[in-house]
Symmetry: C2
Subunit: 230 residues, 2 copies
DNA sequence: GCTAGGACATGACAATTGTCAAGTTTGAGT
DNA sequence: ACTCAAACTTGACAATTGTCATGTCCTAGC
């Protein structure tokens, strides 16, 4: 039972925004609208994909549990972002699990609905590819970060991506748990704490309540400088 | 001027093998067939994508140069594998560069050809999504490795994926430079050397000529065990 | 056959990160 | 207001990895 506001968010999502209104209406009409509590599972790794998911509110994490039991966070999505496109259209098992990390509203588009619409208009395929490419690109960026930057530099880049403004002093508010941030950046919570300590000398001040300020230019310079110069 | 053998390899690629023969013929007829020397660039990061690429022979690496100048290897492709699908169909710039790391034969399918065929048959879109999903999946697997495994464990998994057999003693042949393997696994060449040393006690013996043997079961057990137990 | 350069191995050392073990802070529930 | 658990910080220590330097092996080119 979606509100108009929720529909508006869905329409603005990368997945749907370039499609003709008529198709979007069709999809929204047949979508499933659900709420999730913090910690609730949306789907599990190896489960077969039956829908594409669009986050309308809150935060959702995608993660993998390795054979050793360690959790690796793959990505974290919020309002207007979608995931599971490539998997849903092929009836293959999810390579990751999805869990709400805050109270969430999520729209599910059943894959048969998407597939049948795609047969009518191949443009749908392009939209799905667009969303999938965005994910590919963000994974590639993450790989580069992990392979070529230190922990503190990854934190600096994470803060940069959080802010709307792109230069000068900026207010920052961490969107979720530091434990989750640590996972997302591929480190232990203790290392994240130390990374924040290292950023203090360059003017980053974020207290326990997860808010603070930082200078974007200084951060960018730090993130892009050679690790061996420090 | 493709040989029949090359065409056969192209037909077996993940990208084309599930398409009707008629479409494959159309694509092969309009494809561009090229050779590359070791070290030659196939395309550069930020360049606009004009084609999808299918490797017919040799090895191609995709990599990014970070702002600091460090190179991060994203993936390495060989015979029957394709790349650039999601980018080519959207006229966006490549997020990575591509370079031949051995003498190569590569087939290029111009994106307009693919796009126009896709309008006739949406099934093409599904094939492209299939290939794109494979890349997504492999990037996710790589992220998990980097975030949850030690260097030596990543090497063990790399060796596992090289072999056809899945248990017992196996012959292994490293497909390319150790420098490149190190990049692919997110470490320095020196660390790779040390990782190989650590695998010696569990029966992995690979000499300078890049060939040797290893026990798959022992390797799998090593790769999946908790790093802290060692 | 000789030579030069690149790939690779190894040792010593420094920097980074994980691990373990305290302590503090915070917030939800009583 | 009190309590408890979880999130977070910090310190000490160990393990891993990067860096630098050196030496060996292999190969392409002369």
């Amino acid at each position: 039972m979606p509100h108009e506001a929720q529909k508006a968010i869905a329409r603005q999502s990368l997945l749907l925004r370039s499609l003709p209104d008529q198709h979007v209406d069709t999809l929204l009409r047949q979508a499933i609208w659900r709420q999730y509590d913090r910690g609730e599972t949306i789907f599990l790794q190896e489960e077969e994909a039956k829908a594409v998911h669009v986050v309308l509110a809150g935060w959702v994490k995608l993660f993998r549990i390795s054979p050793t039991g360690a959790e690796a966070v793959v990505s974290v999505f919020t309002r207007g972002e979608s995931f599971g496109e490539a998997v849903a259209l092929r009836n293959v098992p999810y390579p990751v699990s999805a869990e709400a990390v805050s109270p969430c509203e999520v729209m599910h588009i059943p894959s048969p609905v998407l597939l049948s619409l795609m047969k009518e208009d191949p443009e749908i395929g392009v939209s799905i590819l667009a969303a999938t490419f965005t994910h590919l690109h963000s994974l590639v960026a993450q790989l580069e970060q992990l392979k070529a930057q230190t922990g503190a530099q990854r934190v600096a880049e994470f803060l940069l991506n959080l802010c709307d403004c792109d230069s000068g002093q900026c207010e920052v508010e961490l969107p979720y748990d530091k434990m989750l941030i640590a996972g997302r950046l591929g480190m232990k919570p203790e290392s994240l704490s130390r990374a924040f300590s290292r950023l203090k000398p360059i003017g980053v001040r974020i207290d326990r309540n997860h808010a603070g300020i930082a200078d974007m230019d200084v951060l960018r310079n730090y993130a892009e400088s050679d690790p061996s110069e420090k």
